[in-house]
């Protein structure tokens, strides 16, 4: 069983109530621009700005190579500058945050077949950047839908209060887990729950976060997605061996039961509803290492908040606090890690109040 166009539409419609709409290129799912942005970020679906290489934000907004250190990857930051922040991207590609979007799943066997199909469509469509293409690669086992499963897991775990992201930083030797979820209160402000990490960088664009809870819980979960093979446990064992994570989830569209009593499963049932099966065993995987991981995560989310600023604003903020100009990556890291959330949020409020949105 594989996720094809029809199932794709049903899954998004049944689980999230996104409306189904018709387009010249087939049925699609309508989303507001913020949701579509998150969909592109996680699944890799591309805005149809050209038929050859539709633009996706996937992979553009990472911060660090690994957990527990502060080695920047080119993403939100590039050395000492902010680079691919949603705010900066919104200036270069205004369509990203403008109007509703339609996600259209397209099945294909060869790239040339897909490109020809998209070329014909782009020629006949005035507003093609409002369309995002979800690639359904029929030549691949599982149709290459791992990233879509990561998206579904992110969305379902948001409902459970987690701050979520996919392809999370961990370490070179263990690799990047496909999914991570963090509960970090009281280390972080109470509104930071049930969101994708990048949503913290969307405040500048007027997208508010209205979550609130008095829950105070520190917990981390991790997941590995597959759509071809059902073997994920080996990888999950590696992640659990870091002692950072409380729970691990296999993520597979049609697996019925977890491989082991100590891992959970995110799957899809016959009605195309997302189903979360919790682990049965209450074995504890974490140790003192997790405390350090929590500290690192607490700093980590600050970088996503800082990404609401422009480079000029970040420089001014830095100068105002340190009396100097930003001189190195080390100095910017020391500065951001040393800030508390109130200071960062106050600065974001200040620049927004200045009217420079």
């Amino acid at each position: 069983m594989e996720i094809n166009s029809e199932k794709f539409i049903k899954i998004l419609n049944h689980n999230f109530n996104y409306p189904i709409v018709e387009t010249k290129i087939g049925k699609g799912i309508q989303m507001d621009c913020r949701s579509a942005f998150l969909f592109s970020l996680v699944s890799g679906a591309g805005y149809l700005d050209n038929p050859l290489y539709p633009f996706t934000v996937k992979g553009l907004m990472k911060v660090f190579y690994n957990a527990m250190d502060y080695n920047f990857v080119t993403g939100l930051f590039d050395n000492t500058s902010l680079k691919n922040t949603p705010y900066i991207l919104s200036k270069a590609k205004p369509y990203l945050f403008n109007g509703d979007k339609i996600i259209v799943p397209v099945e294909f066997n060869t790239e040339m077949e897909l490109q020809n199909k998209l070329s014909d469509f782009v020629k006949s469509e005035n507003n093609s950047t409002n369309i995002l293409i979800q690639r359904i690669e029929c030549s691949k086992q599982g149709n290459g839908m791992e990233s879509f499963m990561e998206y579904l897991t992110c969305e379902i775990m948001k409902r459970r209060g987690y701050i979520v992201e996919n392809q999370i930083p961990l370490s070179h030797s263990t690799g990047s887990p496909d999914f991570g979820g963090y509960l970090l209160t009281p280390n972080v402000p109470l509104f930071m729950r049930g969101i994708h990490l990048i949503e913290l960088s969307l405040l500048r664009l007027g997208f508010e976060i209205n979550n609130s809870s008095t829950d105070s819980k520190m917990q981390t979960i991790v997941g590995e997605a597959k759509t071809g093979t059902k073997e994920m446990k080996k990888q999950l064992d590696k992640y659990l061996a870091t002692h950072f994570f409380d729970e691990a989830y296999e993520i597979h569209p049609f697996k019925k039961m977890p491989s082991s009593s100590y891992v959970g499963l995110v799957t899809i049932d016959d009605e195309m509803m997302i189903k979360v099966i919790l682990k049965k065993e209450t074995r504890k995987f974490t140790n003192d290492q997790q405390r350090y991981y929590f500290s690192w995560l607490t700093n980590y989310v600050k970088y996503y908040l800082i990404a609401n600023l422009t480079n000029d604003e970040l420089n001014a903020f830095y100068r105002q606090n340190t009396g100097n100009a930003i001189s190195s990556r080390e100095s910017i890291i020391k500065f951001i890690n040393g800030l508390d959330f109130e200071e960062i949020l106050a600065e974001i409020k200040r620049v927004i109040a200045d009217g420079s949105i």
């Binding site: 050209n50 290489y53 992979g59 553009l60 993403g75 060869t110 790239e111 690669e137």
Partner: protein, 346 residues
């Protein structure tokens, strides 16, 4: 996972040139697809080659809609490739050394197939190794097509413009060849001054009709995929081959035996890099078994370290052995097996 080097390059190219540039259509494929890995044809493919040997895949290619016979398989294709580009963001990823050579063969397939191959190393914190310009310059002399090394998309724009007004293309390519040679020569003169000095410093022995370059490769380098030995060895091979393009090149791996080569031939049948190492015209891989008159104590020592990475005491022993072998090869007290030598350089 962050944006990959290939993704950065492809996106940059599309942002600057769009999908069609003055009548030339761009071919590029997303990372998740394997369409760039197949031989150039009507169903896609960004991998070029000649006479049944495929080289590395490219990231982008500008094509014209007109028939072309692919020299890899002699099949007719409805599109003619004009420029094939391999790009990397390696200069922003602390790539200062031979990692830059490792991708040289990706655009080389296009050059061998008679078109323009471009190796684009996006400007970054590291500089391009000057040797790379020399490799491209000499490859252009030997092969049917032209090889260009660039680090700025403005150069690519000039090239595309020159291609579109065909009358200026020859002149443009010549000026680029001269530019690359000047960069290479300046560094070569500063570092070595002449080829004998180069050879002394670069594990190379120059003979009248052939050269020998030795390297401490071991079997495990090729069987353990994480070591990328295939890519490194291929880069080294093309550097030596094109610098000494008028001589036969014996690539000596003294830590390995003919049995090791035989094992790799049998077990690496589908490995692209291994295929290049074994099929490159004018290049022959030789091992300790192909040398005559190597002292037995040297052979024994090499056997002891044959599976050890070259560091610490293993490296010391290797250097000791190689100083004996190198001196012997220079003075002809150690020689390459005569039958093999005659077969290759006659």
């Amino acid at each position: 996972m962050a944006q990959s080097s290939d993704e950065i390059i492809k996106r940059e190219i599309i942002d600057k040139f769009g999908t069609n540039y003055k009548g030339l259509s761009l071919w590029a494929f997303p990372e998740s697809s394997n369409a760039d890995q197949i031989a150039f044809g009507d169903n896609g493919g960004l991998t070029f080659g000649v006479n049944g040997v495929l080289y590395g895949s490219c990231d982008a290619c500008w094509v014209k809609k007109e028939p072309w016979i692919n020299p890899f398989n002699n099949q007719k294709v409805s599109y003619r490739p004009i420029i094939a580009l391999e790009g990397t963001d390696a200069l922003n990823r602390k790539s200062t050394g031979n990692a830059q050579y490792q991708r040289f063969h990706h655009a080389l397939g296009a050059v061998k197939a008679g078109i323009i191959g471009v190796y684009y190393l996006k400007k970054g914190t590291c500089k391009i190794q000057e040797d790379l310009y020399g490799m491209a310059y000499y490859a252009s002399k030997v092969e049917k097509g032209t090889y260009l090394i660039i680090n700025d998309l403005d150069d690519l724009e000039n090239l595309l413009d020159a291609v579109c007004c065909a009358t200026g293309l020859k002149q443009y390519l010549e000026s680029q060849q001269n530019r690359m040679y000047a960069i290479f020569k300046k560094r070569f003169d500063e570092s070595y001054g002449n080829w004998d000095e180069f050879a002394k410093n670069r594990s190379t022995i120059i003979k009248d009709k052939y050269i020998i370059k030795y390297s401490g490769r071991m079997k495990r380098n090729f069987t353990d995929g994480s070591q990328r030995a295939g890519h490194i060895a291929v880069g080294e091979m093309y550097l030596t081959k094109y610098f000494f393009y008028d001589k036969h090149f014996f690539y000596l791996w003294p830590k390995m035996t003919l049995d090791d080569i035989d094992y790799l031939d049998k077990h690496k049948k589908t490995d692209k890099e291994w295929a290049l190492l074994r099929n490159e015209p004018n290049v022959t891989i030789i091992t300790i078994d192909n040398l005559n008159s190597v002292p037995s104590n040297i052979i024994d020592t090499l056997k002891v370290i044959n599976d050890m990475p070259l560091k610490g005491s293993a490296l010391k022993e290797y250097y000791k052995c190689m100083s004996v072998i190198e001196a012997g090869l220079i003075e002809d007290t150690i020689t390459i097996d005569k039958k093999l030598l005659d077969a290759k350089i006659s």
